[in-house]
Subunit: 218 residues, 2 copies
Amino acid sequence: MNSLVEENYLKALFSLSNGDGEVNVNDLSKHLEIKMPTVTSMMKKLAAKKLVHYKSYKPLRLTARGRKEAALVIRKHRLTEMFLVEKMGFGWEQVHEIAEQIEHIKSPIFFSKMDELLDYPKFDPHGSPIPDINGKITGKAYRKLSECNEGDTVKMAAVINTSDEFLKFLNSREIHLGLKIKINSVEPFDHTMVVSYENHLSESLSHMVCERLLVEKE
Amino acid sequence: MNSLVEENYLKALFSLSNGDGEVNVNDLSKHLEIKMPTVTSMMKKLAAKKLVHYKSYKPLRLTARGRKEAALVIRKHRLTEMFLVEKMGFGWEQVHEIAEQIEHIKSPIFFSKMDELLDYPKFDPHGSPIPDINGKITGKAYRKLSECNEGDTVKMAAVINTSDEFLKFLNSREIHLGLKIKINSVEPFDHTMVVSYENHLSESLSHMVCERLLVEKE
DNA sequence: TAATTTTGTTAGAACACTCTAACTTATTAG
DNA sequence: CTAATAAGTTAGAGTGTTCTAACAAAATTA
Ligand SMILES: [Mn+2]
Ligand SMILES: [Mn+2]
Ligand SMILES: [Mn+2]
Ligand SMILES: [Mn+2]
């Protein structure tokens, strides 16, 4: 059984893993806001538990077991977020902090009950895929809104790096998952996009914003 | 802000407090399954935080602040149990262990949302009163079934010291809160009661069981 | 009352997790 | 290719929570 602290390290390792699955101590340290020596010693501990491949001065990699256990924590996090939104009436900008705590509850039945009540959801309220009970993730490859072109019509599929303020901004513009957005024009200078959707006929979205919106082509 | 561990000590102190509000280190130690020296040092820490009155070799007493903070943890515990039963479909024998963990979640809005969704419940699934947001408890004085007499008809109001096995036993006899029970006879030798209710015309309940059932006189 | 048992405290240590300071290895810039 | 910078490690310490061993006080028994 992993501790709350270990679970948070595993989750961070997982989400910082790119294509090659490598993570730098430094990046992990910054992401968790925990100093590098502390991270190093925790990596040795997780290596002893066969959850991380650790070699001095080399990038970190989760083992297959580590990846699975990380995915199961992420599963609990995302199921919780979905439950909070769908069954308790929270806004999508309110649920991350609560899920950050509830993901550590030790009670398989608690999460399987959530799963059942939600009718086995595939995505969390921010559009991120919910890993299955074996830790397998079946994620679609969405594209960033910022990479789309003038004239495209796209559908909102997910948001990246979901901070409170960003989600509140989206709320203020009535941007939500499933929304159909038409790209009217792209400013060549700063990549600001002018888009229209529903009763918003001309809304400007900065490049920062468009980088954080994942969409599907129609 | 109290830690998870401190919250568990406060809760234990509260529930071990009798009329005079005094608790022995030894009883607390046994209740928490934590050795006495550890308890002593935690009591000094809680005393430094003005949550406990501590004098060497004297019984422990919660301060007014300590009592309030304990009641607020118990509030979170009981709200959670009620939510798990009423909104998630758990049995009353399943919820205590989960609530033991969720009571430590730091998120006022999470618990106030539960309270709202449950329409401000006054009792938990075991009949224990839920303290209000100020830590005030308005508990009725029920009586033990074991103290009632032959011929009495009573209504199930609460269960004491709710263990898994005990609640499963009650389930197996279809005994639940609100149930009307008639006492047919009391065995003078061992105080076993023969009772009837609903479609159970003659059910024997040992003294141990009757000691743990709280009832209201009709 | 005196001996014994129970209850409670002190001292010292261990484990989990965190930090700063100092050092080493790897990467980047000139 | 060196010099400077960035990344990573080691050593040593601190906080929170727990333990065992030894001792002291209080309560109980004889
Ligand atoms: Mn989240
Ligand atoms: Mn977390
Ligand atoms: Mn309970
Ligand atoms: Mn608890």
